[in-house]
Structures are given as structure tokens and as C-alpha cells.
Symmetry: C2
Subunit: 426 residues, 2 copies
């Protein structure tokens, strides 16, 4: 891992330019327009092309669900149920209520909260399987009251879906699962095909094709976010356990080569010990090749002079995951302004949040925690304003409205108020 | 206005295809990359090209603010203050608090709410001026606790900004106003120039260039929405006052030629009378040419057999503004699931909400009320999850986390938990 001062790190951050994605766009746009025109047959075509399997049926059958349930084993099932309980308990706190206020003169104003009607969840496939992402995306939608939740995920080379994903989909209460991945799945969810009804919001992680397709359909349909590589930032002072810090950086690094494990520390001793501990631990990992590449390319150890400087640096990074392995983590919470999830102390490592603690693991990446939030129940509802004025109350403010409308040159707006006033004056 | 049955309307709706925007994209992308490369000098260049004025200074001076304050007059100022009070009172109800829950075993979970640090507001210029949009966009950001709010708006041909807009910016508490419009303003806010610091979120209405530029910068920066033409949908039964209905449809139609005034009625009498009343009222309007074109191209009177059919049709349209001019508007509120703002009764016309009632007038257009909300305080904050487990509590769930991590093939995740357990067992 490269070791830097805060100044050097900020300089390096500024020099990193975004990659041009125009060639990616070309193929993503072709896939989207193919699905818009040809529907299901485009899905079959692209699935054969990209996943190497010719589908007889796009939807997962009831029988496949039953097989999956048997395959996963009771220990996994028990863990899944525990996760479900915790995720439900936390997200229940996010539920929003409609509210109304009454003002003088019989005025009622309000904010009505309504669930989004149909939602699509994308779950990546390929070599890995992500049952935890199923739970994290579906449960908040359920709590919000979404009527129909469908899931798409690319099939394995044998035409099946991971039993872990299917078991999680069943446990979470998904209505339908479709064997489609990539940009073609996003297009199907956004615009609909013979088999897949269009949804109003698409959520869930995915590769570069999926992310780019989500950017393109955004506006025609809502999306959760455009997710980039996963990141962790650990702030450690001399009270941190370096062996834990090393393990947590490695757990981030194993995701993929683009994953970003960052350590900000005020202690030169921690910086050195963590680096040694990483070397000791990495060889025992199954995904050590990936982890090594992630650490070399994107791993950074940043030496800060003081904790306030460490907090400022973290706020500039706005990391997806932030672990505070410092003496007084609670006391320093007000100093953190930009982070997706904040883990406090030596015994709250990121995997606890990834799977089980309850808060969502779908988090803003790539610095977008400066402006966005973890996935939550609030992502699956929308609000409508409600306005009621009786005749007299409207008369009382007529002149003000007319004055503002005229200032904007909108005389028909003024007229809509004036004719009601005239009727009343008559 | 074209008159249709519900069936005919839904058929027509389905056949409406979205226009291709690739040529627009080409010029928008050129503007964005110009601003990224050349900064302020690109802003000066594009402003000369599109607004016909060579700027000496991009920021509005203190003197210009003082002149504006004098120019607008006391009646306008009084109306503006009344609007400010009402908008503040309503939006205060949207403020969110951080919250924490404690679980057995010393576990703390929470959701921390933090304001977005810097926000940019775009206000259209051209022939019209929109002081109301200034108030509607700035006040929620203020209430959210945003530290820095800047505003960009295209200069008039004389190089000045509308005094109404400047007076509203002053009243609302904007930090800086810049004389830049179009895609170049969006690029400057998203990526920064020498004069304009980059922001984390861009809000506010704009023309096709602005909307398209917002789509392109989305992801690098947050945006409120991609706004389309303004719409009204009025549901009227035989208790509606047709003269009011006509005036309200006209107030929508005067916005621009693309504006969509829709009436759904269960009464053939209302359908006919409204059409006559429109003919009678339209000639007295300043913007009658625009209004006539909007009504002819996009105006529709839809005859529904029953009120439930009218509600279903409105929910399918998911209109920006929905007026319920029916016998029991409150009782029927639960039947409305998709709408930006809902206006109840004969004396709550859309202009009341546009200017003064308090709820926001920045609303989802083009059917996006199926998945999005009025602009609100919630748009200017973001959330961070907070997770704290003590040692024992983590041990208690170690096996579950390890089981889930192994099912996903992420052994370094499992290891991050295992080493903490091993230390404890030792």
C-alpha cells in the first residue's frame, strides 16, 4: 500500500480524471434500443450472447424456487432469517407518515406519502452470488408498501440462478425473478417486454454496463444511484488494533481490483504495523490475487498530523464505508459530515454492516456521499403536496398572488385568481 | 381542445413516442467539455454566443442588488415576504432529525442527517423572470442547513438580471448570483470554474439545454429532476364551476406551447361549457397566442363514465398538478396515488400553489410523479447510517455473518469477523 501525507493524497485525488465512457455508451445504447424494439426476443438474444445460455423461459419457475430452498441448508437459512429480522427492525424506523396542518381561515395543507407501485431489483450474477443484496434491496421496498417487486439477475452458464439468491428472494417476498442481466435487464425493467412489466424505479448494484444503462434510462424511470467500486476508509489512532485494521482493509480489497481500501492514521506505528499485518494475512485468503491488486492500485495509507485533519480528509473523500477505530468514536460523530455508513469502534467492522446489523449496505460510492444517502424506505415512496383553501381564505391573499403573477408576466395566472375574487365581490 | 373518451386518451398516450435527443446531446456535451477545459473564459464565450452579451463580470455586484431592491416596489416586496413566510411555514414540517436506537447488548444503530454543503440553483431568464422559483428552490435548502447557496441565471440583453429575481434572491438569502445560463451554467456548477465553486447538488427549472445538461452531469453531482413541460389535470364533476375550470386550464396553457392542460370530467355539460368559457376568456390574455397553441396541440378533454375511472386515468397520467373540483375532494384523496400537488375544491387553483400557499411549486412532470416528489427540505440533506457493536454483541452474531459471507464466497469478509472471535476465544 502506498503511504502518503494528507497533502500528497489530496493532490493525487485532484489529478485523477474520470474515464471517458463513450465507447461503452455506444454498446449500451444499442442494447437498450434492441430491447425497446424486440422485447423478449432481444432478451433471449443478448443473454445467449453475453451469458452463453439460450433461455427457454425468462421467469424462474416455482420448481426452481423449491430446489433452491432445499439446496442452501439450514445454517444459511437461519442466518438469512436473522438478517431479515435486523434489516426489518432498522428500516422500520425510516417509515414516513402523511401529515396535514390546518391554518387560520379553514386552510389545510399537507404532504401525502404514497408507495411507488412497481419496483425492479437488479442483482449481479457471474462468479459470485449476492443473497445479502437481495435482502437489502427488497426489504425497504416491502416496508414502503410497494405492491409489486420483481428481480432480475443473469443466469449461470447452466441456465440456473444461484440457490442463495433464490432463497433470499423467497425469504424477502419478491414477486417474480427473471433470468436476465446486464444492460438488457435494465432496459426491460425501464420499458417493459412481453414477459417483464415496466417498473417505476430500478435499484441494485451492477457492473459498468448496468451502471451506464441506469444512467441512460434515468428520467424515464427512477434509479437508486450509479454505483462505482466499493470503498472503505478507516480512521485509526494509536488505540486501534492493527490486526483488525488489516483484516478490514483486506475484506474491502477482495471485492474486486477497483475496490479502494484507505487508511487514515495519526500514528506512524499503526501505519507500519498494519502494512505488516496485511502481508501476513493476505496469503490465507481465497481471493488474494484480487485483494493484492486492489491494495497495490488503490490502497492508500494517509498519515494525518491530527484527528481533526483526519476527519476533514475523510469528509473530502466522502467514503462509502467509514470505520472510526479511535479512542472516542461517539464523541467524534459530529465531526463526520460525508459518509455512507459510519462504523464505531474496534468491534464494528464493515462485514457486520454488509450482512446483519440492519442498516442498508447499498451505500453511495465515489464521493457521492456528499449528496446522497444509503438506500432506505424513503427511496420507495414519493410525496404529493395537498392544498385546500376555502373561498374567504383565497380572497384574503388574492392581491399578493396577482402581484407576483404579474411580476412574472403570467396574466392568465392572475386571471385565475381574479375571476374568483370578482365572483365573490359581485 | 380535443375531446376524447378514456380509452381513446390512453391509446393516444401509448402511441406518443419520446423524441430522439442525440443532436441536442452533441452540443450540450461540447458546452460541458468547453467549460471543464476553459473555465470562466468558456462561460464568457458561451454567454456572448447564446445571450448576446459580453460579460465584464460574472458575479452580480452589491450595487446591482441595491438597484433591484429599489426597482421592484413595495407591493411586490410585501407579496414576496408573505410568500416567504408561507413557504417557510410549510417546509419547516419537512425537517428531518437524526435518530438512534439502542438494542440489547449495548448495540447502537442510527441514522445521521447532514445538510449538503454547497448547492446551486438555476433560474431561467429570457423573456420571463421567475422570482417565485427563487423562493421555492432556496428556502428548503436554507431550512435544511445548506452552508452555501449560489444562483445562476442568464443575463438579459443589457447584461442585467431581472430586478424581481435579484430581490427574491436577496430576500431568500442567496450567497452569490452569477450571470450565466444554459448548459454552460450547469457545467460550471457541476465542475467549477475560477469564479464559480463546484456544488454538490443542482436544482431549478430550465429549457431543453439545461435539462439535458443536468442529465449528463447527474452522478458527478446530484440534481433535483429532469423537468419537462408543465401540466395540469383537472378532475371535474357537475359541481365544478366551469368558468373557473376554463381559467385554470388557461393559466397552465400560457406557460409555453408544450404545456399540457387536461380536463377529465364525468359531466358532458361541463365538457361543453368549459370549452365555450375558454373561447370567451382567451382573447383577453396577453399570452393568448401561446395559450391557444398549447390548447390545440396538447389540451385534452377526457370524458370518464365514473369518478373512479377519472381517478384511475389521473393516476396513469401522474400529473404535475391535479385539481379535484368535485363534490367531496377530501374524501377522495385516498384514491389519488400519483400526482405532484393536489388542489382541493373550487377555490384552490394552481396559481395559489405556484406562488403563495407554501408547498413547493417545483414538481415532478411528464408522469414522473409515479416515482418522484415535490422539491423539499429532504432534497438538501443526506443520511449516514451509524453502527456500533460492542465485543460481546459481535461474538453473538459471528457465526451468522461468517455463514452469509461464505455463501457469497467472500472469505476476507468472514476473516474480519473470525479474527475478532479468535481473539476473544483465546
Amino acid at each position: 500500500m502506498k503511504r502518503l501525507t494528507v497533502q500528497q493524497f489530496l493532490q493525487e485525488k485532484q489529478n485523477t480524471e474520470q474515464t471517458d465512457s463513450r465507447s461503452l455508451d455506444e454498446s449500451v445504447l444499442n442494447i437498450i434500443s434492441g430491447v425497446k424494439k424486440e422485447g423478449d426476443s432481444a432478451l433471449v438474444h443478448f443473454t445467449e450472447k453475453f451469458d452463453g445460455i439460450r433461455l427457454n423461459q425468462i421467469a424462474v419457475s416455482e420448481n426452481e424456487f423449491l430446489e433452491a430452498e432445499k439446496a442452501v441448508g439450514s445454517q444459511f437459512n437461519a442466518a438469512l432469517q436473522k438478517a431479515r429480522q435486523n434489516i426489518t427492525a432498522f428500516h422500520a424506523g425510516q417509515k414516513e407518515q402523511s401529515w396535514f396542518i390546518n391554518q387560520m381561515g379553514g386552510i389545510t395543507l399537507g404532504q401525502k406519502v404514497t408507495p411507488i407501485e412497481r419496483v425492479g431489483v437488479y442483482i449481479p450474477g457471474g462468479k459470485a452470488s449476492y443473497p445479502s443484496s437481495v435482502m437489502m434491496n427488497v426489504i425497504p421496498a416491502q416496508l414502503a408498501g410497494v405492491k409489486e417487486i420483481v428481480l432480475t439477475t443473469p443466469p449461470q452458464p447452466d441456465g440456473k440462478i444461484s440457490p442463495y439468491v433464490l432463497a433470499a428472494a423467497k425469504e424477502a417476498g419478491v414477486d417474480k425473478v427473471y433470468k436476465v442481466g446486464g444492460a438488457q435487464a435494465i432496459a426491460a425493467l425501464a420499458y417493459g417486454t412481453e414477459t417483464i412489466s415496466r417498473v417505476f424505479k430500478i435499484v441494485g448494484p451492477g457492473n459498468a454496463y448496468v451502471a451506464r444503462a441506469k444512467k441512460w434510462v434515468y428520467g424515464d424511470v427512477a434509479i437508486d444511484m450509479i454505483a462505482g467500486p466499493s470503498e472503505i476508509c478507516i480512521i485509526a489512532d494509536e488505540t486501534a488494533e492493527p490486526y483488525f485494521v488489516a483484516a478490514d482493509l483486506l475484506s474491502q480489497a477482495e471485492h474486486d481490483e477497483q475496490a479502494r481500501p484507505l487508511l487514515i492514521t495519526t500514528s506512524r506505528h499503526i501505519a507500519e504495523t498494519v502494512q505488516n499485518d496485511i502481508s501476513n494475512q493476505i496469503d490465507q485468503l481465497e481471493r488474494k490475487t484480487i485483494a493484492r491488486q486492489s491494495l497495490e492500485q488503490n490502497g492508500r495509507i494517509i498519515l494525518a498530523d491530527t484527528l481533526p485533519e483526519a476527519f476533514d480528509t475523510a469528509n473530502t473523500i466522502a467514503p462509502e464505508h467509514l470505520q472510526l477505530m479511535i479512542r472516542d468514536p461517539f464523541e467524534n460523530l459530529p465531526n463526520i459530515t460525508n459518509a455512507g455508513a459510519i462504523f464505531l469502534g474496534n468491534y464494528s467492522p464493515e462485514p457486520l454492516g454488509d450482512y446483519l446489523a440492519g442498516p442498508n449496505h447499498t451505500l453511495p460510492t465515489g464521493g457521492t456521499a456528499t449528496f446522497s444517502s444509503p438506500l432506505g424506505v424513503y427511496d420507495f415512496v414519493k410525496k404529493s403536496s395537498v392544498i385546500h383553501y376555502p373561498n374567504d381564505a383565497l380572497n384574503h391573499v388574492s392581491e399578493d398572488i396577482i402581484s407576483l403573477a404579474n411580476a412574472e408576466g403570467l396574466t392568465a395566472h392572475a386571471n385565475s385568481i381574479q375571476i374568483r375574487k370578482d365572483e365573490d365581490d359581485a
